[in-house]
Amino acid sequence: MIKFQEIKKSFLVSLWFMFLTFPIMVIRVNPIEKIVEWRWKNMIIVGIGSFLLSFVWRYMLKKREAGEKRAETWESGKTSFMQRILEERRFYIPLVTGLTIIAVAFPFIFSMYQTSIMTTALMYIVLGLGLNIVVGLAGLLDLGYVAFYAVGAYSYALLNHHFGLGFWSALPIGAVLGFIFGILLGFPVLRLRGDYLAIVTLGFGEIIRLVLKNWNEFSFGPSGIANIDRPGFFGIQFSLQAATIYLYFLMIGLVIFTIIVVNRLQNSRIGRAWIALREDETACQAMGIDKTRTKLRAFALGATWAGMVGVIFAAKTTFINPASFTFLESAMILSIVVLGGMGSISGVIIGALILILLPEYLRAFSDYRVLIFGAIMVIMMVFRPQGIISNIRRTYKFNE
């Protein structure tokens, strides 16, 4: 039964939040017309909401503590349900076959609009996987990931505008430019502590956006670049409908390519160096891992993927301007990685699908989308830092 003390605690919490949200939630002023609007209804909502949420919060905290104790005594005896599905061939093969069938049939079953949304979701999967290399594997918090995305998009848009360069030749150029920018930015800051990196990348993301916005001669300023060519196929240009389907399959291909690459990277020498570096830098250096170079590789590789998806983004929307590359975008990609599970490929895919598709179908909540991103980051970090699907470390079992 819920104790009286618990109720009292929650009551106090709800009082505190009613006090806290009073000026922002209840009063709305219009300084020009000098009207003050009182919204007392909001206060009641906040009161009841925080009363209930404080129970949930405490319950989850208790559960977390219990979980920590169990982990100490059992030493991770059981694998979770999701992990078992991913590990055992019996479940794994039908799952992959099913997914393949759905993926191939998708554009022919659903409308163009749905296909277009799905393509966007696939783009975020690739972006998430790219950021996952940086944040999840190497443990470097990159808050300016969108800058590399912008580099890719603008490199295709500008090359196409000035020289009429096609999509396929721009794709590797975008990737290479992303890589170069990754190295250029990474070089000065990667020698530093993790939290400096976070804020410098944040600043860098803003710089790129500001430069694109203000340097009119170069990037056409806030009005952006329009009429970018859609991708063609050996010189054939498609109709809008065919191009949508074409882009969809292109993204499917890129997703598969990315999954393979990231998966191979994870278990490679570099990948293990990244994970080791994330866990303990000092020990790593003692083992002879070049800290800066290893980090730089992660950073540049992550940037490469962003550059590539940037090219595709420009080709998909055929119009780009600096407003598409705000910090919000970086935050969204980061919350995909955090929600899905840092370092876990399947987690990132599920995270991207949830965060991109759900707001599309729940239009009523679209205003609250970014608010929820923020809340997700806090809640996941406090209660489930490993994400929905935690990264499975390859373990070798000793069979007697």
Binding site: P31, N42, I207, L210, F373, M381, V382
Partner: protein, 300 residues
């Protein structure tokens, strides 16, 4: 020469505002060694609270001085309350987690607070009333310095002297310094570390709110996004001076303010923010410990 002087004073004003915000970063960093990403948002909420209460109190018919004092006081109280709550939600449950976790959760909180204000209030720029009256004695020098600038300079220097006093000579200041040096050791000698951390957040937030009120009434408009850029700049200032060091934060903020003032005055104002970031990157390359920061070697 007059233009130069104007730029210097403008830079100092700007710098002293940055200093108020940078102090919050540096104090929190000094104690828990984490960047409080939500700090810029606390500053923004301070400015909004002040705006809201100014309008309400003016409509209720208070006189001008009472409005200024009460609105600033309420802004400081509310920002402190927000700072306290943010610490309890974002940092306290993650005290022993890996460093990446509190960073991400603080960024989440910052995004949350931004959108909370956006949804509950408005996305438009709101005009902020000029709270600071024109002084008579300043009239002859008006083309060099305005009265808001004088008020800002005097307020920030007073606050900084008070803060130095608090940290150097009071009991809680001593506890803060002890916690900053070695948290476990401070715990062993009976310092309530959780309380010290809370108090640090509260003081930092109160300073940020004061900065928010001052700059909002100086600039004349606010929106939900002001905390983002101000946060980054204040952080730059804190790093420039050497993060964790209180005089460093003030020095760094003044240098940053002057740099920006000269850069916008003599070069171009379009790239105002770019100069600050450029400065940040340069410091990080050449002197990551900052001007007054000590280079520490980590023992393993």
């Amino acid at each position: 020469m007059e233009y130069f002087l104007e730029l210097v004073l403008g830079g100092l004003t700007r710098g002293s505002i940055y200093a108020l915000i940078a102090l919050g970063y540096t104090m929190v960093y000094g104690i828990i060694e984490l960047i409080n990403f939500a700090h810029g948002e606390i500053y923004m909420i301070g400015a909004f609270t002040a705006l809201i209460f100014t309008s309400v109190l003016t409509l209720l018919g208070f006189n001008e001085i009472a409005v200024i004092v009460l609105a600033s006081l309420l802004a400081v109280i509310y920002s402190s309350a927000y700072g306290y709550t943010v610490e309890k939600i974002v940092y306290k449950p993650l005290r022993h987690a890996p460093r990446l976790s509190p960073l991400i959760s603080a960024i989440g909180m910052s995004i949350f607070l931004q959108n909370y204000v956006l949804l509950a209030q408005t996305s438009d720029f709101l005009p902020f009333p000029n709270l600071i009256p024109e002084f008579e004695f300043i009239k002859p020098y008006r083309y060099i310095i305005s009265s808001p600038e004088i008020v800002i300079l005097i307020t920030t220097s007073t606050v900084m002297i008070l803060l130095t006093f608090l940290i150097k000579f009071t009991r809680i200041g001593k506890a803060m310094r002890a916690t900053a040096q070695d948290m476990n050791m401070a715990m062993l000698v009976g310092v309530n570390v959780n309380r010290v951390i809370s108090i640090t957040f509260v003081i930092g937030s109160a300073l940020a709110a004061l900065g928010g009120v001052l700059i909002a009434s100086h600039v004349g408009q606010i929106n939900f996004y002001i905390g983002f850029i101000a946060g980054i700049k204040a952080f730059t200032a804190a790093v420039l001076g050497g993060i964790g060091s209180i005089p460093g934060a003030v020095l760094g903020a003044l240098i940053l303010g002057l740099t920006e003032s000269f850069a916008t005055g003599y070069v171009s104002s379009d790239y105002e923010d770019v100069f600050a970031f450029g400065l940040l990157v340069l410091i990080l390359i050449f002197r990551p410990a900052g001007i007054l920061g000590r280079v520490t070697t980590k023992k393993v």
